[in-house]
């Protein structure tokens, strides 16, 4: 039943029966719905930054594009690998292979930290060559957007820490792992879009 036809139901007609309808989100556990909603919300945040970016670039006299440190490519690769690692963890969890879970989960987290470290290096490199935050709107946006993306990953790492701890303590964590994987894929996607945007301007 599509949403539209659901909204067309005349609810007063079925009085006395336990009318059923399949849930809009039947197959998913609540936590997944919650995560999806959250992703919608932060997509709003990132998208609005991009709106601002695009408008600001349109009207500026002083836009000096930031050089994109090569390390960013390496970072991108790291984040892709992290994402793959989480996918791997998911598979391991589905096949109930604890060793696989542990290894890949750790790998995912460490790769993410490496990514964050790499981003810091990129910042460092830019600051070193005189591209300060407030010197130019291009710089401002670069730091702002990468910083925000990094913050979201750090938030993810908190959850990752908890999950890892629970894995090693032997709890059942399949759901958490799936959530992490989704979140990481999402942030990878955001990063690719952001990076593309930064590169193309």
């Amino acid at each position: 039943m599509s949403l539209i036809s659901k909204l067309m139901v005349k609810p007063w007609l079925a009085g006395g029966t336990v009318a059923t309808e399949d849930s809009l989100t039947e197959a998913l556990p609540a936590a997944k719905i919650g995560l999806w909603l959250f992703l919608c919300t932060i997509s709003g945040v990132f998208a609005l930054f991009m709106v601002a970016y695009q408008m600001r670039i349109e009207l500026t006299t002083d836009w000096v594009p930031v050089p994109k440190p090569t390390i960013l490519w390496l970072n991108t690769a790291l984040l892709v690998l992290a994402s793959v690692a989480f996918e791997w963890t998911k598979a391991a969890a589905r096949q109930k292979k604890p060793a696989g879970i542990r290894a890949s989960l750790l790998a995912g987290g460490l790769l993410t930290m490496a990514f964050l470290g790499g981003q810091l290096l990129a910042w460092n490199e830019l600051v070193g060559s005189g591209y300060f935050l407030a010197a130019n709107p291009a710089n401002s946006f670069f730091y702002l957007i990468t910083g925000l993306h990094g913050l979201h990953l750090i938030g993810g790492l908190f959850v990752w820490t908890r999950t890892t701890w629970r894995v090693f303590a032997g709890y059942e964590v399949t759901l958490s792992i799936e959530l992490c994987a989704t979140y990481w894929h999402y942030l990878l996607l955001v990063w690719i879009i952001l990076f593309g945007l930064l590169l193309s301007t």
């Binding site: 009318a19 849930s23 556990p29 932060i42 601002a52 009207l59 407030a134």
Partner: protein
């Protein structure tokens, strides 16, 4: 039915043992609702006092030594911001959303109780940060609740140092709190409804809160983004919104940005925000009208569609706040059109409220009085909105007291009347006691008549051209002396209305101990929250078994039924095919 299983996860219900677990770090949605409400009402009273101070200055300019332009603008700003965000948004969604969603959907609790608990404490934190700004050097920000840069972060505006920063921080924290709560409300509605509670059987209150929360989740990011960028401009010297300009005669380092971008982002949030406070009110008032008129809500499906349509449309009307802001003037055509279109679904709601009363059997209880008051004030305020929405008409009226009159009529009193109606209506469920009726009527009459006499004249000041956000009008050649007497009248009314809120608070307090015991369903309502086995409902809401829903929320005065209402969880009699005889929902009150 996947969701039933989720709704029934008793094992996961966190049973509190200690006092602290029960009332402070509680994960029970009802306790959290009450915590939200108390904080919101508390901070709302601050805003109320601030409005009193503003009115004193406007009526008796320069009589009170403690009001000067510096703190007048701070009062205006804090009054507006607190009322809109920290009172109404928090009370409708955090307070009533929390209380009603699980009970009306037949769930044991929100789906993420722990996050729900965090939400209220983070909200408290945001309120504390906001209040702290009263105590930093320079005081809170005085930039207007719209916080337009460059002004908000430049010298010459009160609180342009500490005040604005704390305001932005507080807003960010509020958004975090709201997001934690909001994810809960939406997911609970999607996932935790009890058996038989299809989407179209949900009471309109739930619909209103549900859609409003979705609006919030999508709109608050715009505030977050603009807030973060403004904080960067202020603290780190970036130029997102700041063009080249001077500041108190000296050049500064900004260059290239544009304040119009902030306004677009702000109103992309700001307009949905006004519907965030309006939609729950629309929903709750529908339920109250229907229950007390003993009649089904008229045109239920249209009401649902209208809520959804208003919610969706509210994202494409934002720039009607910017007709005279210097944006590309051709936008005016687009936004005037969308803005007036939004009047159509809203009009349908108004018609259906009145048509619900038509051929009803109206009990003029206190909640009903407030609900009727709402219809009156909302119609008035909505219609003045049509003046402002029509771009050419907005030009002479924008930034005058006409706008102040408009938004107080739709926002400063209509949803507030619904809140009060809702408190009178649901208080018996929350506490098990009725609120005192005589005091309630006193409260209603003074609030209703008082606010109307505050806001009606404001429109006429606006026609005259009296600007808003003016500390004093001084001498102008077109504003006659008589305006001063209007202002005095408004202020007197405002002070009376403010005073009568004390009666209300007294009533809330006194009835908690001395009120008439309410029984489990004093208004004889059909919706699930009135069918709980205990009143007030205990942790977990439903005793051993979750309710099962057999009908929509509005089976009032069904032809052939014995009682004039049939609770949602009441099955038809197996033999006759008719609803059971008694009004009591069996099986639940053993």
């Amino acid at each position: 039915m996947a969701y039933v299983a989720i709704a029934d996860r008793e094992a996961e219900l966190h049973e509190p043992k200690t006092f602290i677990g029960k009332y402070i770090w509680s994960q029970d949605h009802k306790v959290i609702a009450i915590q939200y409400s108390l904080i919101a009402i508390g901070v709302g009273l601050v805003a109320l006092v601030l409005s009193g101070m503003m009115r004193l200055q406007l009526a008796f300019p320069n009589e009170f030594a403690f009001i000067d332009p510096h703190n007048y603008y701070q009062f205006v700003t804090m009054h507006g911001m607190i009322m809109v965000i920290y009172l109404l948004t928090a009370l409708f969604l955090g307070g009533f959303g929390n209380y009603l969603i699980p009970l009306m959907c037949g769930a044991r609790d929100m789906v993420f109780p722990y996050m729900n608990m965090l939400s209220v404490w983070v909200y408290l934190l945001s309120v504390i940060i906001l209040m702290a700004s009263f105590f930093v050097p320079g005081g809170p920000t005085g930039a207007g609740w719209t916080l337009y840069p460059p002004q908000a972060i430049m010298e010459g505006t009160p609180g342009s140092d500490g005040g604005i920063v704390l305001m932005l921080v507080s807003l960010v924290v509020f958004i975090v709190a709201f997001t934690m709560g909001g994810l809960n409300y939406v997911t609970t509605v999607l996932q935790a409804r009890c058996r038989g509670m299809t989407l179209m059987r949900m009471p309109l209150s739930v619909w209103g809160i549900f859609i409003a929360t979705i609006l919030g989740l999508l709109a608050f990011p715009a505030l977050l983004v603009s807030g973060i960028m403004m904080a960067f401009d202020k603290l780190l010297g970036t130029s997102f919104f700041m063009p080249a300009m001077i500041s108190v005669g000296e050049p500064n380092a900004y260059d290239g940005g544009t304040p119009v971008l902030f306004q677009h982002l702000f109103w992309f949030f700001g307009h949905p925000e006004v519907y965030i406070v309006a939609l729950p009110a629309f929903g709750m008032v529908s339920d109250i009208l229907s229950a007390h008129a003993r009649k089904n809500i008229f045109g239920y499906r249209m009401m649902v569609w209208a809520i959804v349509a208003i919610g969706a449309l509210s994202f494409v009307v934002w720039a009607h706040h910017m007709y005279v802001s210097g944006m590309n003037p051709y936008f005016g055509f687009f936004f005037a059109t969308t803005t007036l279109i939004i009047a159509v679904p809203t009009a349908i709601k108004v018609y259906n409220w009145v048509l619900t009363l038509w051929q009803g059997n109206i009990r003029l209880t206190v909640p009903m009085l407030f609900a009727i008051g709402f219809i009156f004030t909302f119609t008035h305020g909505g219609l003045t909105g049509l003046f402002l929405g029509n771009v050419a008409v907005d030009m002479p009226l924008s930034d005058t007291y006409f706008v102040v009159g408009h938004f107080h009529m739709v926002m400063g009193v209509s949803p507030v009347l619904v809140l009060m109606a809702a408190i009178y209506h649901w208080y018996p469920k929350v506490t098990g006691r009725m609120l005192d009726e005589t005091l309630g009527k006193l409260h209603f009459w003074l609030t209703f008549l008082g606010t109307y006499s505050i806001y009606l004249p404001m429109h006429y000041l606006g026609f005259l051209g009296v600007p808003r956000r003016y500390f004093a009008t001084g001498v102008t050649e077109f504003i006659p002396e008589s305006v001063q007497s209007v202002n005095v009248g408004i202020t007197v009314a405002a002070l009376i209305v403010a005073a009568v809120q004390v009666v209300f608070l007294f009533n809330l307090f006194w009835s908690y101990f001395r009120g008439k015991p309410a029984g489990h369903n004093p208004w004889e309502c059909t919706t699930l929250e009135w069918q709980t086995p205990q009143t007030p409902p205990v942790h977990g809401n439903w005793g051993k078994e979750l309710p099962v829903v057999y009908r929509w929320a509005y089976d009032y005065s069904v032809p052939g039924a014995v009682d004039d209402f049939i609770p949602q969880n009441k099955p038809n009699d197996e033999t006759t095919g008719e609803p059971h005889e008694t009004g009591d929902a069996e099986g639940l009150h053993s």
